[in-house]
């Protein structure tokens, strides 16, 4: 049996997420250096041979510490890959709730496995109609005009034959 609605009160003040810190290890440094040269690079685990793009610190398959500082362990990766899954974002997530996008503003996101790698990454897909996106389709990276050594240097992906 529920009682009458009670009174609620809040403690006023801010609790900003920016108060929290996380040591980021700088383990993307070599990866974004590659992006600045318009090259995608990955790191190979010396324990099990898995190839990670973007890189990671400890191989979660075999618990080997990856040799991020060792140039020999980094390899050039193809800009092409295969779509493993995708979504089309119909709504924008705003602080106050969801807002419907206009049809032309919808965004296609895809999980892509770049050729020769053991991992996937989440990217934006452009230059195609919504109804033409397919799991298994081949896509290719498009670079920004002036890469600056950031994850945003890969602007998006587009379909290729």
């Amino acid at each position: 049996m529920m009682k009458q609605e009670g009174e609620y009160s809040s403690v006023s003040g801010e609790w900003p997420l920016s108060a929290y810190k996380w040591k980021t290890e700088r383990f993307f440094d070599k990866y974004v250096e590659g992006l600045k040269r318009k090259q995608i690079t990955g790191i190979r685990c010396t324990g099990c041979g898995s190839i990670f793009v973007p890189p990671t610190v400890i191989c979660c398959r075999c618990l080997t510490r990856l040799r991020l500082e060792n140039d020999d362990d980094w390899i050039r990766i193809s800009e092409r890959g295969t779509v493993l899954s995708y979504t089309i974002s119909y709504m924008e997530i705003l602080p106050g709730g969801l807002k419907e996008r206009k049809k032309e503003d919808r965004i296609i996101y895809a999980l892509v496995q770049l050729d020769g790698t053991d991992t996937h990454m989440l990217v934006e897909l452009r230059n195609l109609f919504e109804e033409d996106v397919k799991v298994g389709m081949r896509i290719c990276a498009v670079w920004v005009d002036e890469p600056k050594g950031a994850l945003s240097d890969i602007s998006h992906f587009i379909p290729v034959k």
Partner: protein
């Protein structure tokens, strides 16, 4: 391992906003119910295991300030928090304690009062480590897209649809079935006795292939259970539910790997960790043919497409057969293996409680105390499932009507 019996379940009715109680007052209702159900009192309880997602309400260490409302003072207390799977992990914590002989009688409780807080803020804080790294290297768009649960599960849905041939129409039907089941469950939040697939189909698409009608509500609610030994169970109830097997398994995140690195868990729909946990739990339970030996399942389904995925990943049919079997009525309340007769997480989602409710519902089915949503066939064996993290932690618990 010692046999472990579930002798009682206490639940609050779940609703979108409990404005008449605060968190400990709400939890007290579930605790009071389980004591009434079992005839036990705080003096009979050796230890407490609790869990919720404190980040969602912004109120931390609930075990410190809530204990006085549970009868937990001067008793051992442990809190376990594993995301969506929290409640299942809490229950497994109690099972470890009783099975190992450390304690005889353990009370578990799990809860969430989502209306008191901001789930989006809480979810963001769980992703802080990934986002801190990605943002420090200049990524923004992708992290924004991922800052809600649906942003993660859509990839699971698309991949599974591609592999199995599941259609959006079938997800509509599954969502409607779960909401109709919930209408028979006195504790459920979203009760829609007459809802049809067509009604679900009219709801707007949020992120392809999932629409609003395919998603779970945010609920306020609590659940409490009592686990005890074979000897003590006999004195409490004529028909306890028995723990037959349990396992949990985690793997790399399904969309982002460690701190934004590439994930090796490349197919979000494959759910190897669920298969691994189910295999271990079934082996412990002596189950060799789950399809034939299990009469009811309560998988963790916050999004409609997961009805099909977890039916398969819990080995209740061959991979890829779930959509066909669903259409044949196998998963209906009176089907061969009813799925979520309670209405599931799709109808009832107090996050910390939700995965323990799955175990509680299986126990009620075995004890024949589910009421209007009691399935028609006798339940000898039931499987409960919880899902946490980035769809990368799966917790499986098998219950039965006889001890091991």
């Amino acid at each position: 391992m010692r046999n472990v019996a579930i002798v009682g379940v206490g639940m609050t009715k779940h609703v979108s906003k409990r404005r008449d109680v605060n968190i400990p007052e709400m939890v007290y209702e579930a605790v009071e119910a389980v004591f009434q159900e079992t005839g036990l009192a705080p003096k009979d309880i050796d230890a407490f295991v609790t869990g919720n997602m404190p980040a969602f309400e912004g109120i931390n260490t609930p075990e410190l300030w809530g204990g006085g409302y549970w009868g937990a003072y001067r008793k051992p207390v442990i809190r376990i928090t594993t995301g969506g799977s929290t409640g299942a992990s809490v229950a497994q914590g109690a099972i470890y304690a009783v099975a190992s002989g450390v304690y005889d009688t353990v009370l578990t409780l799990a809860f969430e009062k989502q209306s008191d807080g901001d789930t989006s803020v809480g979810l963001n804080s769980t992703s802080l480590a990934d986002f801190a790294n990605l943002n420090s290297y200049g990524a923004t768009a992708v992290t924004t897209q991922l800052s809600s649960a649906i942003g993660l599960f859509v990839y699971q849905a698309t991949s599974y649809m591609h592999k199995s041939g599941l259609t959006i129409d079938q997800i509509d039907k599954a969502a409607a079935m779960l909401r109709r089941n919930a209408a028979k469950n006195p504790y459920a939040h979203l009760k829609q006795p007459n809802i049809t697939a067509e009604d679900i189909a009219k709801t707007p698409m949020i992120s392809y292939p999932l629409r609003f009608g395919h998603t779970c509500p945010a609920s306020d609610g609590a659940v409490a259970m009592i686990f005890t030994t074979k000897e003590k169970a006999k004195k409490i109830t004529r028909k306890p539910a028995w723990v037959k097997g349990l396992a949990a398994c985690s793997e790399d995140g399904t969309v982002l790997g460690q701190f934004g690195g590439g994930s090796i868990n490349i197919d979000p729909a494959e759910q190897r960790s669920c298969k691994f946990a189910a295999q271990k739990a079934y082996k412990m339970a002596g189950i060799t043919n789950p399809e034939k030996e299990i009469q009811v399942a309560e998988p963790y389904i916050p999004f409609g497409h997961q009805l099909f995925i977890y039916f398969e990943r819990l080995f209740l049919c061959k991979e890829g057969d779930a959509p066909k079997l669903f259409d044949q009525g196998v998963m209906d309340l009176n089907g061969a293996i009813p799925i979520c007769p309670s209405g599931g997480v799709m109808s009832n989602n107090a996050i910390g409680a939700a995965a323990m409710v799955r175990i509680a519902e299986c126990a009620l089915q075995i004890m024949q105390k589910a009421g209007e949503h009691q399935v028609t066939q006798d339940v000898h064996t039931a499987v409960a499932h919880g899902l946490g993290g980035s769809a990368n932690l799966n917790v499986v618990t098998v219950l039965g009507d006889s001890p091991n």
